[in-house]
């Protein structure tokens, strides 16, 4: 055999006489001319014109197909159609018959569905030598001895249904083989050449100028024509000649089964020279074309036919013996190969037969083990690599864990990474291997690995960095940089290399978000070590950051779109400067300069650090920082927290700042206190002068300090003029400080006494004046009661025309025409003139209701109640018995000022006019007060009230005391009330002009129903002064009005 170097195996078992001699029995003494198979049946035709249809169970159906002989036959693979060419009569008259053996005719034979002459009428009769039927049952080709080929189209099963054509240019040598490739191409093999014909265009192309014997061409794989010649087997495609396999010998038959090419050669001709008398023998060779093996090779006696049906080969020998070649199953094939250590072949076979991945892995593993045991570590690893994903990696790794096996191990691990099966440990191991190898022979594998930018090897970068970092920080750095593991990079630069500058440069290259994040993370350390650079970077970050590598003008700016600059909040960075005030100041100043909308934190921090620096810096520089702080403090845009700043200033003793802040917050008293603490009374005074008008208590603060004597005169003058403190308290206060001499206060005392004196004089004058007025009134009453009143007015007070009867006269000397009076007057009892000037007051609401309404309305009901208490309303009245006076006096509950001054109002009741205001509220009607001072005798009924002088004094006292109380709560107003020489107010009682000297107010609870409203000092103060003896009252008898 000329098959030289192809490996030989025996993948087929031979079973002889598989049919138990049935075929031999059937065929007996004829010879098989043609054998074909398909559709689960084998068809054998013999020289006597019989066809034998053999089923798998070796049941034979025989029928007479032709009278004489059957020369060609083809069974369709998937249909029960058998196409035969044979002769019914002597001569050259080939007939095509198509049998449908699924149907039977009346003789029980398969039905012949078509009979037609093979040779067209225009041709000379010639022997048919080749037959091809397309599987689609629509194409049928017949080749003839004279080289012509006829092609029939149309359903082969129907009589004369299709068209017939004779193909041109097919040469003149006998056609030996025909094969359809698809529906449009027909391979034609003749003795002289190989051609391909396009059935549609009926065009023929010669592929090769070599022919073949009959049966020595077969269509392999459905597309390749395989042709056997004596020297080789050639493959053809429709394009042309393909590869060839040199195989010498006379080929008798070619068959194709799955991927096997079955070649039957005539061995006798080979050996003819050596042994002529040996019986004829044929040799069967089965080639696995794909894998290039000889899978079976055996000599048999003369072979009539090779059939491929029922999943394997059957050989029919000349002796009518049916030999079955059973293909071994894959497992036994493989074990055969393993025994010979032909793992690579095994793999090839297994993969060509679509062995499952797990099984393949097992083969690879066995192969790898085999190679490993042979010591071929590198090749072994190639096999192991193929097991990745199925085989436990530790199995392989353990084998290679010696240092001299590192390279294969690296290869394995790299593959593992590439395929994505690597775990952390694998990465670690791989890197460790790199390191070891590098230590050995400095191949720079690690570097190579690190610099593999496109990430050929898929590995866990973090793990890699971790490992590499332990070996070589530089490598780890470039690894981190390559894979953009900024965090690692920075951590290593900062922690391992301490190259802070480099870290900064790196950050500056990053995108904004990253830069921001890492600056936050590492900023502290960076600022510690590279304050200047870090600060600059931070400035950038917080203003208009761009990665350093970015072009200055990028696309967006070119296209004109406004790019919202990325900027981070300086707030986040402030804490990083912890120990470096100068840098922080630099940073924050920059921030504030570029953007005024900085948060309060920024300003706070800036001020704080200014002050810190100020505190630390030498005297010479203090001034500049002081200036800076003040600039910030005074900046109206600066959004700093005043309280916090104040605390800082106080902590560090930054007085300028404190003062400024006090000023801002209107804390003048604190300002004064500060000045006084520092002993700078003059400054304190200046504050007083500036702000005293708004806040008179400043003066008192200074007074209580105590101030140096030099300041006293001014102080006292203000206290006096503004009546800030009662003189007695001033003296008390000054007396507590031993430094003052009488001389310091003499002028003040003199002034006070003088003014007191004046007041007394004035009061006395008033008193005497009132006395005289009273006398006058008494006289008038006397007159009215006892004497006639002469109405002298000649004009009507209403129309101002001369009076004419009838007239109405009033005791108030007003006279009216009766008409006028009726027109103007609303009630008959009142003089319209007097009524109009003093409208009748409305009835005051009940005292209890008032209290309730106040309690409800007031935001601080308790304050209301306590106020009532404070005014002694719920107390038993302390009756002060006065020596009898000309006008009867009634002791009343302490006349209180109007309850109006709420706490808020009280807070404002300083400064000029405050007292006047209070009086106004208390006296309620200016008219009352004015009438008092103007010594006006009340000529008319209601408007004039003699306000008791004592009350005025009392009010004054209370003013003093309230200020004092707020200040130091040393004195109680009650004391004054009692002590005051003017404390016995005289109220003219209307109903009971004379009253017993001692009254208990048992029934004077203001909330009692029987309570006399007139005594309620709070009764409707807006309209009606409670002390107004002329105020309208329920019980008031209008008739008693002397003026009505």
């Amino acid at each position: 055999m000329a098959f030289l170097e192809w490996r030989r195996f025996t993948f087929f078992d031979v079973h002889r006489n598989i049919d138990n001699g049935k075929i031999a029995e059937c065929l007996q003494d004829t010879n098989v001319t043609v054998a074909t198979s398909g559709n689960n049946h084998v068809v054998l035709c013999d020289v006597t014109g019989w066809a034998h249809l053999i089923s798998r169970s070796w049941e034979i159906t025989s029928f007479k197909a032709y009278d004489l002989t059957v020369s060609l036959a083809q069974q369709l693979p998937h249909d029960p159609y058998l196409v035969t060419i044979g002769e019914n009569e002597a001569g050259v008259t080939p007939l095509i018959k198509v049998w449908d053996w699924s149907r039977v005719d009346r003789h029980g034979n398969p039905q012949c569905v078509r009979t037609s002459r093979a040779v067209p009428s225009h041709m000379y009769p010639t022997q048919a030598t080749a037959l091809a039927v397309h599987d689609n049952k629509n194409l049928l080709a017949v080749g003839f001895q004279d080289g012509s080929v006829t092609l029939y189209r149309g359903d082969i099963a129907r009589q004369r249904s299709g068209k017939m054509k004779t193909l041109p240019d097919t040469g003149s040598s006998p056609i030996t083989g025909l094969a359809f490739k698809g529906a449009d191409k027909l391979f034609v093999v003749s003795r002289a050449c190989v051609m391909v014909c396009w059935t549609s265009s009926e065009r023929c192309t010669v592929l090769d100028a070599m022919g073949a014997a009959p049966a020595c061409s077969v269509l392999a794989d459905g597309h390749r024509l395989t042709v056997a010649t004596t020297d080789a087997i050639y493959c053809y495609t429709t394009e042309g000649r393909g590869p060839c396999y040199a195989l010498e010998g006379e080929k008798l038959r070619l068959n194709w089964f799955r991927s096997y090419l079955v070649i039957t050669t005539n061995e006798t001709s080979n050996k003819a020279s050596s042994s002529t008398n040996t019986p004829k023998s044929h040799h069967i060779t089965i080639l696995d074309i794909q894998n290039k093996f000889i899978v079976f090779s055996k000599s048999f006696e003369e072979i009539d036919a090779v059939l491929t049906e029922w999943g394997s080969f059957y050989i029919l020998t000349k002796n009518k013996e049916m030999i079955y070649l059973e293909e071994k199953d894959l497992q036994s094939k493989l074990s055969l190969l393993f025994k010979k250590n032909l793992y690579d072949v095994a793999i090839r076979i297994a993969s060509s037969q679509h062995y499952d991945a797990e099984g393949l892995t097992e083969i690879y593993k066995q192969y790898g083990d085999h190679l490993y045991n042979k010591g071929d570590l590198k090749c072994a690893i190639d096999q192991y690599v193929k097991t990745i994903g199925w085989l436990e990696t530790s199995y392989v790794i353990r084998k290679y864990l010696e240092s001299r096996h590192l390279e294969p191990l690296i290869q394995y691990l790299e593959e593992l990474h590439k395929k994505g099966f690597a775990t952390e440990d694998h990465t670690t191991l791989l890197l460790t291997c790199y390191v070891k190898i590098d230590q050995h022979d400095h191949q720079g594998k690690l570097k190579e690995f690190i610099n593999s930018k496109d990430k050929v090897i898929d590995f866990d970068v973090d793990v890699a960095i971790k490992v590499v970092r332990q070996v070589s920080v530089d490598d780890a750095l470039s690894l981190a940089a390559n894979h953009k593991r900024h965090d690692w990079y920075l951590r290593m630069v900062i922690e391992d290399k301490k190259e802070f500058k480099q870290a900064l440069d790196y950050i500056a290259e990053l995108e904004f978000d990253d830069a921001d994040m890492y600056m936050k993370k590492y900023g502290h350390k960076l600022i510690q070590h590279e304050p200047e650079e870090s600060t600059n970077l931070l400035k950038l970050l917080c203003t208009d950051y761009k990665p350093r590598s970015c072009p200055l003008a990028d696309e967006s700016s070119l296209t004109g779109r406004f790019r919202e600059p990325d900027r981070s909040f300086p707030d986040d960075y402030v804490h990083m400067f912890l120990s470096n005030s100068e840098r922080l100041i630099d940073f924050l100043e920059h921030m504030i300069a570029t953007d005024t909308n900085c948060s309060s934190l920024v300003y706070n921090a800036l001020i704080e650090h200014y002050i810190h620096v100020w505190a630390k810096s030498p005297e010479a520089e203090k001034k500049t920082y002081e200036q800076k702080v003040l600039t910030v403090l005074k900046d109206p845009d600066a959004d700093y927290d005043k309280d916090q700043t104040l605390i800082i200033c106080q902590m560090l003793g930054f007085k300028t700042g404190i003062l400024h802040l006090y000023e801002e917050k209107k804390l003048w008293r604190s300002q004064v206190a500060l000045h006084l603490r520092d002993g700078q009374a003059e400054l304190a005074l200046s504050v007083c002068r500036r702000r005293g008008a708004a806040c008179p208590r400043l003066w008192l603060d200074v007074l209580w300090a105590p101030p140096p004597p030099a300041c006293l005169p001014e102080l006292l003058r203000v206290v006096d003029s503004e009546k800030l403190l009662s003189p007695i308290l001033v003296i008390d206060c000054l007396a507590s400080t031993p430094t003052y001499t009488l001389g310091d206060v003499r002028k003040y005392l003199m002034d006070v006494l003088k003014s007191e004196d004046e007041v007394i004089t004035r009061e006395q004058e008033l008193a005497s004046k009132y006395k005289s007025e009273i006398e006058k009134m008494k006289a008038q009453i006397q007159t009215i009661q006892n004497e006639a009143v002469i109405f002298q007015s000649s004009r009507c007070a209403a129309c101002n025309r001369p009076l004419e009867m009838p007239t109405v006269h009033f005791l108030c000397q007003h006279s009216f025409h009766q008409d006028c009076f009726q027109t103007y007057s609303e009630s008959e009892r009142e003089c319209p003139s007097c009524v109009s000037s003093a409208p009748p007051p409305r009835a005051p609401p009940a005292g209890a209701e008032l209290l309730h309404s106040r309690l409800l309305a007031d935001h601080d009901p308790f304050a209301v109640v306590s106020e009532y208490f404070g005014r002694g309303l719920f107390n038993k009245v302390t009756v002060v018995t006065e020596p009898p006076e000309p006008s009867p006096t009634a002791p009343v509950p302490t006349p209180a000022p109007a309850p109006a001054p709420a706490p808020a109002v009280a807070a404002q009741s300083y400064g000029p006019g405050a007292e006047a205001k209070l009086r106004l509220q208390e006296g309620q009607s200016k008219q009352v007060f004015v009438s008092n001072t103007a010594k006006q005798v009340a000529p008319k009924g209601t408007s004039v009230i003699p306000v008791p002088e004592g009350r005025m004094r009392l009010m004054e006292q209370q003013q003093y005391s309230s200020s004092l109380e707020a200040n130091m709560t040393k004195l109680e107003p009650q004391i004054h009330t009692k002590k005051s020489p003017f404390a016995s107010p005289s109220v003219v009682r209307k109903k009971e002009p004379k009253i017993s000297s001692t009254i208990t107010n048992d029934n004077r609870n203001p909330f009692d129903e029987n309570y006399d409203e007139s005594k309620n000092p709070f009764a409707d103060e807006t309209k009606n002064d409670p002390t107004n003896p002329f105020g309208d009252d329920e019980d008031y008898d209008k008739n008693l009005n002397p003026f009505s």
């Binding site: 194409l139 068209k163 549609s200 060839c244 396999y245």
Partner: protein, 213 residues
């Protein structure tokens, strides 16, 4: 896959010089240390790009053994390029070059581009043929020379691609009659329709698919 041109190559040289390995390396990018002997002729194809054009290389790998010489000779015809391979570790393979060259020149068209390949350049320690000798031989016979290693894939791509470039240049110069298939050059399907008008007769698939009647 559509291609602009199809070039037929043939690899020739003594047995065992690594012809099949060169082909395997070029088409499959792998190396098989143990390779069965080539019986007859084998076959491989790969697409390359030259000058922006897709070119299909159809490579015939012949058996080097003298026994198959008659078969392989029939494959010379219709090759546009030939790789003449010798083994730098075996001087006799170098000595036989002349015979091979004569054979090739005799059985192929005269325009065939022949490249001389000294294979197994990875086995430097066992070198018997100097590179200079190879260069000299190539210069003498008007060949392109290159040393390759099918094992390490060194210069393998270059060898095939350089040959293709040379052929391509010749086409551009008009040396090859691209319509004559005997030259081993075929115009791709889309080309033949667009460019060479009369080329339809070459049979590259001019027939429309004829439907079944």
């Amino acid at each position: 896959m559509a291609y602009a041109y199809l070039f037929k190559y043939i690899i020739i040289g003594d047995t065992g010089v690594g012809k099949s390995c060169l082909l395997l390396q070029f088409t499959d990018k792998r190396f098989q240390p143990v390779h069965d002997l080539t019986i007859g002729v084998e076959f491989g194809a790969r697409m390359i790009t030259i000058d922006g054009k897709q070119i299909k290389l159809q490579i015939w790998d012949t058996a080097g053994q003298e026994a198959f010489r008659s078969i392989t000779r029939s494959y010379y015809r219709g090759a546009a390029g030939a790789l003449l391979v010798y083994d730098i570790t075996r001087r006799d393979t170098f000595n036989h070059l002349t015979t091979w060259l004569e054979d090739a020149r005799q059985h192929s068209n005269s325009n065939m581009v022949i490249m001389l390949i000294g294979n197994k350049s990875d086995l430097e320690s066992r070198r018997e043929v100097k590179k200079e000798e190879g260069e000299a031989f190539a210069r003498e016979h008007g060949l392109v020379f290159m040393e390759t290693s099918a094992k390490t894939a060194a210069n393998v791509e270059e060898a095939f691609i350089n040959t293709a470039k040379e052929i391509y240049e010749k086409i551009q110069e008009g040396v090859f009659d691209i319509n004559n298939e005997a030259n081993g050059i075929k115009i791709g399907p889309q080309h033949s329709n667009a460019g060479a008008g009369g080329a339809g007769g070459a049979g590259a698939g001019g027939a429309p698919p004829g439907g079944c009647c």
